[in-house]
């Protein structure tokens, strides 16, 4: 499983500049909540448990992180579905103009489909803001 990095509270997500929603591995404690092994969004301090389906542990989020089902075939990993409330429609609606600025509209975004690569968030964003 993977999780959508769109915070289900008010839809913060990792932009190219910075990410407020981040994973805190078991050896790294959140300065604010003191929790480790969690996914935490620093905009409004919603904390999610990746070990239990992205359930909300703390904070104002009302629903868990959307869960992405992954399947491995011949050494390749495919995302095959979403479990839970994904809020993708709301996300694309909210960020429509920002996304057009970044990716140049639907047609251009479609061109990116085959070129999309998976990378660590720390390599994608300029700054991971943890709290």
């Amino acid at each position: 499983m993977a999780y959508s990095a769109i915070c289900p509270h008010q839809w913060s997500y990792p932009s190219k500049d910075f990410s407020l929603i981040n994973y805190y591995p078991s050896n790294e404690k959140s300065q604010t909540t003191g929790k480790s092994g969690v996914i935490q969004c620093c905009a409004h301090i919603s904390v999610f448990d990746p070990k239990s389906g992205g359930q909300v542990l703390e904070g104002p989020a009302e629903v868990p992180l959307a869960c992405i089902e992954l399947i491995e075939e011949e050494g390749k990993i495919y995302a095959t579905g979403v479990l839970g409330i994904n809020q993708f429609e709301e996300f694309f609606d909210m960020y429509k103009s920002d996304l057009i600025d970044q990716y140049g509209g639907l047609e251009k975004a479609k061109e990116q489909l085959d070129k999309t690569v998976v990378m660590e968030v720390g390599k994608y964003v300029k700054e991971q803001i943890k709290c």
């Binding site: 839809w11 913060s12 409004h44 909210m94 700054e127």
Partner: protein, 422 residues
């Protein structure tokens, strides 16, 4: 120089919050349930006040109940955010970015918006009275914000030097005064807590000091506080004043305004007189006058008593949320946003007869810019035990000035606006 020594924060506002946990009006719930036995299609909810509380109530209600009638009434045609407005005064944010029209809420979410002033409310007949209409309701949510607790003789002064703690024109005019300021003495005063947005006066003082120093103006700030120290993020604010703006300000604590000599531009306080060229006297505040008029605010009280966990008043199915209510939450936009969602959930339960999950933990976050690049923040969680009627606050502060906290601050506000108007 700064007269006040750096002190650890007293968390004065938290002490108030704990005491308030004992507040527990018990409305007649059986009557409320009976009266609220309406089908989801015919139920009418009227919300007075289109701030953080009112709009959040409307949006959450629509999410839960697609068919009910929701009417939002506000005297302004568009929402102007008070959170982030100090950044506009400090020259870091466009005023237009604080504004959102209400009208699209109708097309997108079928929330009726009426741009008018509420003249009166007949709580017996369940009617909201405007200059042109009488609007009936089954459930009434009042989120009208604050009024300034000033006497009529001071009114002209506060037009000339607006407090800018109500959103809109006051901020525009105060900014114009600041832009026209070319040096001299500035006086900012802070009333005793509680007032709207605990860190706001301290953030404003920091950003005005930043404004002065960046422009190299020959100016001095007399920052006069009725409280003994900043009521929140005390350490962070004091460090910022001392390190970044030393020599530009006197911070005078435990001092209240006695009188304003408008003819001579002098603020008279319990600790001496202060002549000013520019003033931002932040007056004591109280609940909206409308609430006094309709009898929900007792004449000797400043805030409306509501049931601790539901924000319901002594009148069944009439709720007061936001800064007008006496609640365990600090008076803030974020707190009003959460209260709005809670009240929407309660109304949904009463309309549908189905129980929703109750909040066990509420959280309020406050961010404050202290320079053009750095911010500090605080977070208070409230653990709720309904059975024992106990609320336990846990307060945490990050008083280290960080550039990353500025990014969190912006996203904090944008997230709220997305949820309300997106």
């Amino acid at each position: 120089m700064l007269k006040n020594k750096l002190n650890v924060n007293r968390r004065q506002f938290l002490a108030g919050s704990v005491a308030l946990a004992a507040t527990n009006l018990i409305p007649d719930v059986s009557l409320a349930k009976e009266e609220a036995a309406k089908s989801t299609k015919s139920a009418k909810v009227v919300i007075v006040g289109g701030g953080y509380g009112g709009v959040s109530t409307a949006r959450q209600l629509r999410k839960l109940l697609p068919d009910i009638s929701i009417t939002l009434i506000d005297k302004n045609p568009f929402f102007v955010s008070c959170p982030m407005s100090n950044l506009y005064l400090g020259d870091f944010y466009e005023f237009g970015n604080l504004c959102f029209p209400y009208e699209p809420l109708k097309a997108k979410y079928n929330i009726d918006f009426i741009n008018t002033k509420v003249m009166d409310i007949d709580l017996d007949k369940k009617l909201v009275i405007t200059p042109y209409d009488r609007i009936s309701y089954d459930f009434l949510v009042l989120s009208p914000g604050i009024s300034y607790d000033i006497d009529k003789s001071q009114k002209d002064f506060f037009i000339k030097y607006p407090p800018a703690f109500k959103p809109g024109g006051e901020h525009l005019y105060l900014k114009r005064l600041l832009e026209g300021f070319d040096g001299g003495d500035i006086v900012i005063t802070v009333p005793s807590y509680p007032y709207r947005c605990p860190p706001a006066p301290y953030e404003r003082a920091a950003l005005i000091l930043n404004y002065i120093t960046k422009r190299k103006l020959k100016a001095h700030l007399y920052f006069i506080d009725a409280n003994e120290r900043p009521v929140i993020n005390s350490e962070g604010f004091m460090k910022a004043y001392y390190k970044l703006y030393k020599g530009y300000a006197d911070y005078i604590t435990g001092t209240t305004v006695k009188e304003i000599d408008t003819a001579n531009n002098v603020v008279k306080t319990t600790n001496g007189d202060f002549k000013f060229k520019l003033a931002n006297v932040i007056p004591p505040m109280k609940a909206s006058k409308l609430l006094e008029k309709i009898g929900l605010l007792e004449s000797n009280q400043k805030w409306v008593e509501v049931e601790t966990f539901t924000f319901e008043t002594k009148v069944p199915n009439v709720f007061v949320i936001g800064d007008s209510a006496r609640t365990f939450l600090p008076k803030s936009g974020f707190g009003a946003n959460m209260q709005g969602k809670i009240v929407a959930n309660i109304i949904t339960e009463r309309i549908t007869g189905k129980k929703l999950k109750q909040e066990e933990l509420l959280m309020v976050l406050c961010y404050s810019m202290v320079s053009d690049k750095e911010a500090i923040m605080s977070e208070t969680s409230f653990k709720i035990n309904r059975e024992k009627n106990v609320i336990t606050p846990i307060h945490r502060e990050d008083n280290t000035r960080r550039e990353s906290t500025v990014k969190r601050y912006h996203e904090w506000a944008k997230g709220l606006w997305r949820e309300m108007f997106g």
